[in-house]
């Protein structure tokens, strides 16, 4: 979404549209509208959708869950006050609207007649219970830090809940819309980590570790008609090659793969498969250690950027699926969409050499170890290409594939020598990404970030509630980062490439990397 064009609801208009929807009642969710527009046929109820998953869930309690592999399941079992629609905009879910008496207070009106899978009614008490658990240090929830601006959650009446913040927080609504960050759990129900109970479109049925995880349609789901599927079964195939084979042999109807070339190749050779472009949500950055020579010299960094042919990396590693990237992906507010002008993004080895000479390295430079995540084949492939590209500009590096755990440790502590790459995934709010380059954050200090103007811009952007304004500010931040080459970004791509059989209708992949739209999916058989 380029700046200013996202069409997202802005400031006061957002409030009133939600209130409008509340009053209207019927025109519920944009996705409902969306899928009706997208699919000309009428959905057919029934059937079982089999999805291939590459990892088992680790815990099913959204408040305590840490593993990405669990999100697939929590996003179908639980719902939150808000949710993301197909165009990555926030829209109502369990809350039908909200008011803001002042910028730090949110008064949510809750939907009535919603039931949990165990038959219990959903009320404001459940919202309070959820957030009390999150805020309680004893729970040890990682969400506590995300909701640090939330001071208190109060039940006003059974269908109204007040959130009192201690500061304006542009990320607040995004977090509420994200699963599992904003998922609501039932009060008074124990053991949801193994036997989950939520308000989502599907209810937990059974789980055999390493084999399958099954969900059944929740008949009392509050969106009339949805979900269409009678049953959803996840089958586990941990190895990418077996996952692909399972898809081709129809053991599964749908899956997502890590390598876009695989998905593109499958779709190309078999017309029965649909491969979705989706929105990009992940970037591949090269983190630079600017605390010491030679990378403390902006000319060397700019030379590195000029020596990089981002388009070639994109074409070779991703097979063209994806876009050239900057600090935040296009699915975020103000995210770079790969088409605009970015400083030092042109591929110009001659100019790179000139800059190096100016910086005192007329015969080229050896930048030492370039550390990459050994377990990510895409990263390793890209690093090899970069090494060759840089070679032609006189920049030498040695590739050092490393185990993930020690690599993350080196990154967090700033103990890597010169270059290190670890990809950044989707977050509900782009500010979380900017925190990595802010000079007072752990990571910022680790890389030697020291730009007061940049810090100021980041703080300002975080406080900006007007969406268009924020988009413009975010773009400006990215341009500053590229201009100074604090971080070298290469490309952006979807975390996973989704691919499904042609009889699967009504599914929309989300940049947020959860399969929420299984609720609008139906099988045309």
């Amino acid at each position: 979404m380029a700046a200013g064009q996202d069409g997202a609801l802005r400031g006061p208009s957002r409030r009133s549209l939600l209130q409008l929807l509340t009053a209207g009642g019927a025109a519920l969710a944009a996705p409902g509208l969306w899928s009706t527009l997208a699919a000309a046929q009428a959905p057919v109820a029934g059937g079982t959708l089999t999805i291939g998953a590459d990892a088992d869930p680790i815990g099913l309690d959204p408040v305590t869950v840490n593993a990405f592999s669990s999100y697939d399941f929590t996003s179908l079992i639980y719902s939150g006050l808000l949710r993301w629609n197909a165009r990555m905009q926030v829209e109502p879910d369990l809350a039908t609207g909200y008011e803001q008496p002042d910028p730090k207070t949110y008064l949510f009106r809750l939907r009535q007649g919603v039931k949990f899978h165990n038959g219990k009614d959903f009320t404001a008490a459940d919202v309070k219970h959820t957030f009390d658990r999150i805020m309680d240090p004893a729970t040890g929830s990682r969400l506590k830090a995300l909701y640090s601006s939330v001071e208190s959650v109060t039940v006003v009446d059974p269908f109204t809940v007040r959130f009192q913040l201690n500061a304006t927080d542009a990320a607040f609504l995004s977090n509420l819309a994200t699963n599992p960050n904003g998922a609501i759990v039932p009060a008074g129900v124990d053991g949801i980590n193994a036997q989950p109970v939520g308000t989502g479109p599907f209810a937990f049925e059974a789980y055999q570790p390493n084999q399958q995880f099954s969900l059944t349609r929740f008949a009392d789901y509050y969106e009339k008609g949805e979900p269409y599927l009678a049953k959803v079964v996840f089958r586990f195939f941990k190895d990418q090659a077996t996952l692909t084979s399972a898809l081709r042999s129809r053991a599964i109807d749908m899956t997502w793969v890590k390598d876009p070339k695989v998905a593109a190749a499958i779709a190309r050779t078999s017309p029965q498969f649909v491969s979705a472009p989706g929105q990009t949500s992940r970037t591949f950055p090269i983190w630079l250690n600017m605390k010491a020579k030679p990378l403390n010299d902006v000319r060397v960094r700019r030379a590195l950027s000029l020596a990089t042919d981002r388009k070639a990396c994109l074409d070779t590693v991703l097979g063209g699926s994806g876009k050239v990237g900057a600090m935040i992906p296009e699915s975020q507010v103000g995210g770079y969409d790969g088409t605009g002008e970015m400083p030092y993004y042109r591929h110009d080895p001659a100019a790179a050499k000139a800059l190096l000479a100016e910086a005192g390295y007329p015969d080229g430079i050896d930048l030492g170890d370039y550390i990459i995540v050994a377990a990510n084949p895409l990263d390793v492939a890209c690093a090899q290409i970069l090494q060759q590209q840089w070679q032609t500009a006189g920049i030498a590096v040695k590739l050092v594939p490393m185990e993930t755990a020690p690599l993350l440790s080196a990154w967090a502590n700033g103990t890597w020598p010169t270059l290190l790459s670890v990809a950044l995934s989707w977050t509900p709010d782009p500010d979380a990404i900017f925190q990595y380059v802010k000079s007072d954050s752990g990571f910022g200090k680790a890389m030697g970030s020291n730009d007061p103007e940049l810090d100021r811009m980041i703080l300002e952007a975080r406080a900006e509630l007007d969406v268009a304004g924020r988009a413009a500010k975010n773009l400006a931040i990215q341009q500053r980062i590229a201009d100074n080459a604090y971080v070298i970004q290469i490309y952006q791509y979807p975390l996973r490439w989704e691919i499904w059989r042609d009889y699967v209708q009504g599914y929309v992949p989300l940049a947020a990397n959860i399969r929420s739209f299984v609720r609008t999916t139906w099988l045309k058989k």
Binding site: N210, K238, D239, A375, L408, S409
Partner: protein, 313 residues
């Protein structure tokens, strides 16, 4: 005989102890902090790390840790997985059951194929013999994971609708269970059947020529008796030994084949836990797998001794 058996059992216990020591030391030899690996994340509060260290007994001397771990292992507590946070034992047993099914099926196929081709080569001689030996030579050169990959490739290219991957539990559907295990079992069995075939062939050829067969004939024993008492007894020895060694070895071979065919057995469990650096699981699998191998080898030795009383330690 009893002395022999007791001796072998005592020796087995000694080896198992050694095996457990190796399994334990291996995991303690990893570079990096074991406690951090257990925590699963770099950014863990020092108090949490200290608690983990106490829990895992990492602050004690190595010998004490080993004895503690061994004690737990003997009572069935094989630790907790770093990844799933659940006890390793339950998962391991489930997986082991699947691998045993696969291994038994592979052993049966290998034995059947091996004995059949070995007998055919020994009795029919000539071209059959030459063909069998050629086949054997080739099969030895193709590793089981290459066979497995090629099988999956073959089906993927020419029979894409046939599901060759995945596993159906026996209780759910016995026929589907067999179908899901058949191809991986064949991949595992091929190389193993070669040795059985060659052993069978050699043994049958050898024994047929030995003096005591002639002597027995001279004594007037019926062919049936000769066959049963002498031929089989002497041919069986190497075959049983080889088969026994293979069954034990099949356990290790399943690592690759299970991964390729998506069979949730112990081999795949090892593969996954290596990728996720789940050290308690790796440790447990090494211990259990090696333990099984030692057990089977010991039983084979005892059976071997029974079959041919001439064999002394």
């Amino acid at each position: 005989m009893t002395r022999f058996v007791l001796g072998r059992l005592a020796w087995m216990a000694a080896i198992l102890l050694g095996v457990s020591l190796v399994a334990f030391l291996l995991m303690r030899a990893i570079p990096g902090d074991f406690a951090i690996a257990a925590a699963g994340s770099q950014s863990v509060a020092p108090e949490v790390l200290a608690a983990i260290r106490r829990d895992l007994g990492l602050d004690q001397p190595l010998m004490a840790q080993y004895l503690g771990w061994l004690g737990h292992a003997l009572t069935g507590d094989l630790g907790t997985s770093f990844v799933t946070r659940r006890p390793v034992l339950g998962e391991l047993l489930d997986r082991l059951a699947v691998t045993i099914q696969l291994t038994l099926l592979a052993a049966v196929i290998a034995a059947a194929m091996g004995v059949a081709t070995g007998l055919a080569a020994a009795r029919l001689r000539g071209v059959t013999d030459w063909l069998v030996r050629l086949w054997n030579g080739l099969m030895l050169a193709v590793p089981n994971y290459v066979v497995a990959t090629l099988i999956v490739l073959l089906f993927g290219l020419y029979f894409p609708e046939v599901t060759v991957l995945g596993y159906t539990p026996f209780l759910e559907n016995p026929l589907a269970n067999l179908a899901s295990l058949l191809l991986p079992a064949i991949a595992l069995a091929l190389a193993v059947s070669v040795t059985i075939a060659e052993n069978t062939r050699a043994a049958v050829l050898e024994v047929a020529n030995q003096d005591f067969v002639m002597v027995a004939r001279a004594k007037g024993l019926t062919p049936a008796t000769i066959l049963r008492d002498y031929l089989m007894r002497n041919a069986l020895t190497p075959v049983v030994t080889a088969a026994g060694l293979k069954i034990a070895a099949l356990l290790g071979g399943s690592i690759l084949v299970e991964t390729i065919f998506a069979i949730p057995g112990m081999g795949q469990y090892l593969f996954d836990s290596i990728n996720s650096r789940d050290y308690p699981v790796i440790q447990a699998i090494v211990l259990v797998a090696a333990g099984i191998v030692v057990l089977v080898n010991t039983l084979i030795d005892i059976a071997y001794a029974r079959i041919d009383a001439r064999v002394q330690m």
